[in-house]
Every structure is written in C-alpha cells, then in structure tokens.
Amino acid sequence: MNVKAQHIDDVLVLIIEDRDANLVKSGPFKELVFNEINEGARKIVISFEHVDYLDSSFLGSLVAILKNLLPLEGKLVLVKLNDDIQNLFEMTRLDKIFNLKNSLETALKEF
C-alpha cells in the first residue's frame, strides 16, 4: 500500500496514494496506523485526495482505527473525500462518527 506520511507539528498526516482503497490494502493500512498509535500518535489526519474508491473492508479499518483512538483521547480527521465517498459516508451515517474536512488546512485547525 502506498502511503505518504508526514508530521506537521504533533499531527501525523497520512496521504493514501492509491486510487482503490480495498481489501488488499485495508489490513496493512490498519497495521500501519495501529503501530503509529502504539508509538504515541494521537492526532491523525488521513487524506483521500488520490482515492477514487473505498470498499467496506477499508471502511471497516477506518472505523477500527477511530474506535481505538477515541479511548486514548486521540483525534482522527479525514480530508479530501471525493463526492462518491462523501456521499457514502453521509448515506450510512458515518459522517456522524468521523470528522470530515475539505482541506488539510481546515483539518489542522481541529487540533
């Protein structure tokens, strides 16, 4: 899975560089973020600017990441979801549990 990681102050920004975020990538991605959380990451932004499609396996990984982060008083912000994915989040009420932002700049203001 192609993920670009960068730190902006104490915020970990992960940019998914694949077009399809699917079953093959969901496991390694969850493992990657869980490792970061174990090493102390509490403020995380995930950018979907390159992602066209998100399947239910990857969605499940995102929910698991959020569920693990919340008891640690961590925060997760998802940015730059395309219209289809944004629509999927709204239709399935995932927009009620995830913090969704249009840009990295607005995401960083959440912390």
């Binding site: 077009r19 693990n68 289809d84 239709m91």
Partner: protein, 374 residues
C-alpha cells in the same frame, strides 16, 4: 477474469519481451526493474504469479524470494525463477526456496507460456477443490448466512437474491425470522470486509440478531429501535467483535394489518417506488453501524405501502461498479436503473435479474431483498 503476473528483471528488454508475450496471451502484467519496485507493487496489488530473474543489483532473486517467504501475505503467491543462471547448485537453491519452477531464459517462449498456463491452471484447480471442500463442510453443518427460501405470507411477497464476490462466501447476510403467524422480521446485514473473514463473523452477528429478536418478542416487545439498541449493546460488549462492524436493515412485517416498520444501523436507505407519484422514495434511518459505540441512536419508522408497491433493501455491493478500470460507488446510478425498470413496468423477477445483469463488473457481495405488498 484475467490473471495478473508480476515480472521482475533488471533487464528492461527482457521485461518488455515477456510482458508482450504474456499480455498477448490474456494475462495482465505488472513489471518491476528491481526487488524494491516489486515490493512496492505488492503492497498495492496481489498478483496470481510472480516471475523473477536471479541476477539483479542490490537484492537478487533469492533475496527477494526469502523476503516474500517471511511475510504471511506474500509467501503463498506462486513463484517462478526465470533466469540465465542455470548451474545445478543455483537451480537447487531456487527450488529449495519453494519456487514452483526454475526456468532457463533460453527456453523457447512457447514452452515458457505453456508452463505458466499449466501452473496457473493447477493452482486454480487446487483452489476450487479446497473451496468445494470448505463449502461442503459448511453445507453439512447447515452453516448458511443466506436462507434457502423466503417465507410465504398473506399480505406480502418476499423475493431476494445474493451474489457472492469471486465465488467465495462473503459478509452479506439475510434472514427471515417468522416469530408468529402475524409477525415476520426481515434481516439484511453486511459485515465490513470481504470473503471468508467477513463470512465467518456474519454468523456471530446473525446469532445475536436472532437472540435479540426472540428475547424481545418473548416480552411482547416489537419495538425495532429497542431490539436494535439491545443488539448493539451486546455486539459492542463482545471483545471478539471489537474490530468487526456490521450494517443492518431490520424490517418488521405485520402480516395481519399489512404494516411495515423499519430500523437501520449504518445501512443504505431503503427504496420504494411510489405508485401514485411515480417516483422512487427513500427511507433513511439515523442509526450508526453495530458495535462502534454502546449508544447507536437507533430510531424506527413506519413505511406506508399501497397494494402492489415494492420495497427494496440493498447491500452496498449493489451500488459499486467497475468500468474502464475505475471502481466507484454510486447509489444514484442504482436508483436510476431501478426507476427505469419500474417505469417500464418490469416484473419483480425481471427487476431482480436486470439489476444484477447490468453490473459492468461486480466488486463486492451483492444482495437485494424485494418486499411486495399484495
């Protein structure tokens, strides 16, 4: 479905030659000029076969093979060496690294192609045999997350269809729980994930759903929001399901009075073709997916249905499409198709068939339940 082969060689001429040979014989090819490039490709796509050269700068083919064997995700991908280093010791070393074959680069292209065809055919047959055995065992144990038939009711006709992804059981599950002559619960759920992992966990969710419904009904409680809240709390408390989530559409049919009630958990909206307005209505619940939090804010609603109207419950696979190498989720496209079929007066069976036929390419389990008011 085209098989994907990952070719690894530092000689771009050789790579292009084999890519052309394999592509013209129906294979998808990914090419890498180094082990590092190959590993990058493997992180985004799992090929059906890896063919690697031995002599490469930095890491050679044996190093590559050893690294793959250390990773559970990659160690079972069939692996071939295709190289000009053909001394007995090297061939033996390659085969000792669990490579399926060690082919000399000067082997005629036709022979190489036949070896690859035979190998992938053998892998496919082995896979089909194993799958058949598992399916056989599941059948014997009566493990099914899709029922054999729908109940026959007086006021409603239920029709349903499920298409698994790549012929493997998946996370979509359907159930019809007839608790009395009057009441029947209709269940459509989708465990997040695909294939066997999601299939396995669907039984945990199904058991909890059946229990929650039965326990509430014993207390004369037919409130869907209360059933959903109790169910969610049990799922949330189950440590085995702590990272596993499921959507759920739960519909209660009152066969005596013809009333339809609905509650949802992170599911797609229910759709109904309104006969009078000739438009597609959608019904969206407020509940979030099962197991995320102990308070899922579940609500319920009554859906008014006139005689002859149909209500559609769909899983997310029904709105995922692949066209031109691009995958996307588009519920509007699904609604458009459904609307056109209804406007054209298509029968219930025909709607079910055409919704599946129209998929350019399926990328997930697909399930639909159609409830027709009689």
């Amino acid at each position: 479905m085209n098989r994907t082969i990952l070719l690894v060689d530092d000689d771009i001429f050789q790579l292009k030659l084999f890519e052309k040979l394999l592509s013209s014989n129906g294979y998808n090819c990914k090419i890498a000029l180094s082990v590092a490039e190959a590993e990058e490709i493997l992180h985004s796509e799992k090929p059906d076969l890896i063919i690697s050269d031995y002599e490469m700068p930095d890491k050679n083919g044996f190093d590559f093979r050893r690294r793959l064997l250390e990773r559970d995700m990659f160690k079972n991908i069939p692996f071939l060496f295709l190289t000009s280093v053909n001394d007995t010791a090297s061939v033996q070393q390659g085969l000792d690294l669990k490579a399926i074959d060690y082919i000399a680069k000067n082997t005629p292209a036709k022979h190489v192609l036949s070896k690859i065809d035979n190998l992938l055919q053998a892998v496919r047959e082995h896979y089909e045999r194993s799958l058949g055995e598992i399916k056989g065992v599941a059948e014997k144990l009566n493990l099914r997350n899709i029922p054999r038939q729908a109940p026959v009711l007086k006021s409603f006709e239920i029709s349903y269809f499920n298409q698994t992804f790549q012929n493997q059981p998946g996370g979509d599950f359907i159930d019809f729980i007839r608790v009395s002559d009057r009441y029947t619960f209709v269940v459509l759920g989708d465990v997040m994930g695909k294939k066997w992992g999601a299939w396995f966990f669907s039984f945990s969710f199904l058991s909890y759903i059946r229990s929650a419904i039965r326990l509430c009904v014993y207390d004369e409680n037919y409130s869907l929001s209360e059933i959903m809240n109790k169910l969610n709390r049990v799922v949330y408390a189950d440590e085995l399901l702590s990272d596993i989530f499921s959507t759920l559409s739960l519909v209660l049919l009152d066969d005596q009075d013809g009333i339809v009630s609905y509650a949802g958990a992170g599911d797609l909206p229910l759709l109904k073709f309104d006969k009078e307005k000739e438009s597609l209505q959608h019904y969206q619940s407020q509940g979030i997916l099962l197991g995320f939090t102990d308070d899922g804010s579940y609500d319920e609603m009554t859906i008014q249905m006139e005689d002859g109207e149909e209500l559609y419950l769909v899983s997310d696979g029904m709105m995922d499409f692949e066209a031109g190498g691009k995958t996307r989720s588009d519920i509007e496209l699904l609604k458009e198709k459904l609307y056109t079929l209804k406007k054209n007066g298509e029968s219930l069976e025909s709607i079910k068939d055409k919704l599946f036929d129209k998929h350019v390419s399926q990328v997930d389990d697909c399930s639909i339940i159609i409830i027709k008011k009689l």
